[in-house]
Structure formats: structure tokens, C-alpha cells
Amino acid sequence: MNAASLELDLDVFSGPFDLLLTLVLREEVDLLEVQLAEVVIAYLDHLHARGELDLEVATEFLVLIAALLELKSRMMLPRAEDDPLDLEPGEAAEELLARMLEARRYRRAAEHLSDRLAGEDGVRYRSAALPPALRRTTLADAGAVYDPRRLGTALAGLLRVPAQLNLGHVTVPTITVGERLTHLRKLLLRGGGCSFDEAVRGADRVTVAVTLFALLELYKQGEATWTQDEPFGAIEIAAFQRPARDRVFA
């Protein structure tokens, strides 16, 4: 078994991991649509089922998934037409291969270093302190050997704040928690409950995130509760039933 033959059952793809890789590299599956977290979960399930950890395979899997994540994050970033990072499928495959070869190279160099350290085993060096008379520069012997400006420049370096990321290309959304609270309350009043997917249908990412905050706020105030059967599963929202009031209105 190697990492490549891990069986996957994802929304956009089902089959072995290496086939997914091939399709992604040939751009027959859009990497943007692949939930890499699901791949990782499938791998963890697989490990759990096997009950043992093959380090060689695990390392290979980590390098592959890290490379895929990096490719995916590059695709998600806005870029110019002639961006040199815009990879052709063939180039992406070569880059992935180069990454795996590089990781393999340093893994072997690491083995060599470990062997070398073990081979030196048995040689010890003396670590006794110097006789007191030889230990430290005395105040009397000390001269001005350092330039105080060295301290000033070091301090200046520490005062420098790193350049802020330019987020100019991101459209600043104006959606507020208050608006989403109103939206959720309206949905809950109408039918007593709804799914989270319904609540954010057609909305952009930021609106989805703000809606989640709004949902947390509703929960905190005791207006709504929700259930989710499994990670990444559907979220069902329900208006919180106050027993006493129910009886009054029933």
C-alpha cells in the first residue's frame, strides 16, 4: 500500500488518490473544487482502520497534500495574466515531482547524519570550566571594542513593523451581523426552522462567515439551536422551544 492507492469518495471525485492527482494535474478535475480536508480525513480514517502507521507512506502523503494545498492556494490568489506562477498542467506535475524528490533527498541526508552521529558515539569532549584565573575579561583589561551604534541599528530593526499585506484587491463587504440576525430571525419565524445552506443560499464567503457569527449570537441569546450529525454535514437550525411559552400558545 502506498499513499497513491488510498481510496477516496469525495463530492467531485471518487477513486484512488493517484488518479485524483493525475486528473488534477491534467486539469480534468478543478483543484478549487476538491475539498482537501476530505482527502486528509479519508487518509486518517484509512490509518485508523489499518491500526498501524507506515512512516514512509505517511511522509509521502504529507508532501503530496502539502504541495496540493500550495497549488490550490496559489490558484485562489488573484494574479496577473502573465504571472510566472501560472502553471501549466505539465509544469505542475514536474513541480510536484521535484518537491517529492527534494523531500526524499533530505530524508536520506538525515539518515546519513544520524548514522554519522551514532558512529561518533563514544567520543566525548571535555566540558570543564576554565581555571578561574583564565575565565572572564576583567573590567580593568576591557577596552572599548564595540560600537554603540550597533545597538541603535539593532533596536531600529526591532522597531520596524513589517509591511502590511495589501488587501486592496479584496472587495470589502458591508454585510453586518445585525443584518444577518434579522435575516435568520425572519427565516425562523416563518417555518420554525431551516438548514444553514438555505440561510446562506447564493451568498458569498464573507456573508456565510458573518451568518455563522449571527447564528452563534442567536444561540447565546437562547433564540435558536442547531444540530449537525457529522463534520462537514448539513446544519439544521431550529427556533429554541421555550417549554413554558409553548404551553401558553399551544
Partner: protein, 193 residues
């Protein structure tokens, strides 16, 4: 033993770190040629199997170290292992630093595919690597130390085998390429997984 050889032996005994040949000559107030003779004399006196100590060329200098014959007894007397072995993560991180130095932590992480934070912290603590300034993006850069050279029995970084020696063979590379690309295509064509 000549007086000069005796003096050099004493200097090596006192120094915690390997001493460069020039520093020995300066301290012993002698010519390079005289020092070379004294070192040759010491080499004879410390020939393998002669003594409990060895004369080692490490980290760009000369140092006295114990002969492995005494390791077991030393462990009993000092009640501590000489140098604990490295974990695989530490060894990989150390290999990347040794070959690519100065190198930043994000770069190490990129090559390994997983974070190197805890491994680099341990390597720093054990004194195998140290900071070497900052990259243009402000990330701390790392390099190996003289202690690394000393404990790994290396005279200089050049004594490390060329990194090309660890390159996968053309067959392995072809095999990897195959598994990445063609294995998938075959699967796509066949029903059997």
C-alpha cells in the same frame, strides 16, 4: 615529548572548543613549521590504541576527545548519555539546515511538508543550529554551529558528502513519475483498482 608538544597538549586539554592551528601557534609563540612538528609528535603519542584519548580534527581546529573504549565507563561515571540520538524530524531539519544554510523556517517547512517548529527549537536548544540573521521577509535564518561539526566529527561543512549523493536514482525518479501520472491513467482505463 618536546616542550612545545607538551605545551600544545596542555592547551588542548584546557580548551572546551577545538583550537585553530594558527591560534595554537600564536599562543605557544612558535612558527607554523614547529607547530606542525609538535602536532606530528602528538599524533604519534595518540596513535589509535595507545591512549585513552584521541587527537581529533574537528570544526576547523584540533581537539582532544576520549577513545570509544571508555564510553561504557564514562556513562557509568557521569550518569548521562554522550549525545542522545536525533529523532527523524530533528535529523531532517538538521540536514536541510546543514546543506542549505542560511535557511528560514518557512523554507524548511516547505521542503518537509510539515512544520519544523518543535524540531528546530530542540536543535537550537541542543546548540546544533543557531540564528544567522533575518531574511528579507523578516523570518529568522538558521545555520549550523561549530558544536554540530564537533559532535558529528566533521572538520568543516565541506566534509559533508555532496547533497547530490542523496538524489534518488533515475530508476526511482522514473518510478515516482510513473506512480504520479501513468498509474492513474491505467486505472482510469481499467475497472480493476
Amino acid at each position: 615529548m618536546t616542550e612545545l608538544a607538551r605545551i600544545v597538549e596542555a592547551l588542548l586539554f584546557l580548551s572546551a572548543d577545538p583550537v585553530a592551528v594558527e591560534d595554537l601557534a600564536e599562543a605557544a609563540d612558535c612558527e607554523a613549521g614547529e607547530l606542525a612538528e609538535a602536532l606530528a609528535e602528538l599524533d604519534r603519542a595518540y596513535a589509535p590504541g595507545e591512549r585513552g584519548l584521541q587527537l581529533k580534527r574537528v570544526a576547523g581546529g584540533i581537539a582532544l576527545g576520549t577513545d570509544p573504549v571508555a564510553e561504557e565507563a564514562a556513562r557509568r561515571l557521569l550518569a548521562k548519555p554522550r549525545t542522545p540520538p536525533l529523532t527523524p524530524a530533528q535529523a531532517e531539519t538538521l540536514a536541510i539546515v546543514a546543506y542549505l544554510q542560511p535557511v528560514s523556517r518557512p523554507e524548511i517547512t516547505r521542503i518537509r511538508g510539515v512544520s519544523a517548529d518543535s524540531a528546530s527549537a530542540t536543535l537550537l536548544e541542543r546548540g546544533f543550529v543557531e540564528e544567522a540573521g533575518r531574511s528579507q521577509f523578516g523570518a529568522v535564518l538558521y545555520r549550523t554551529t561549530d558544536l554540530f561539526l564537533k559532535l558529528f566529527g566533521l572538520d568543516t561543512l565541506k566534509a559533508l558528502p555532496s547533497v547530490g549523493e542523496w538524489d534518488p536514482t533515475p530508476e526511482e525518479e522514473a518510478d515516482l513519475r510513473d506512480r504520479l501520472l501513468r498509474a492513474g491513467e491505467q486505472r482510469a482505463g481499467a475497472t480493476e483498482g
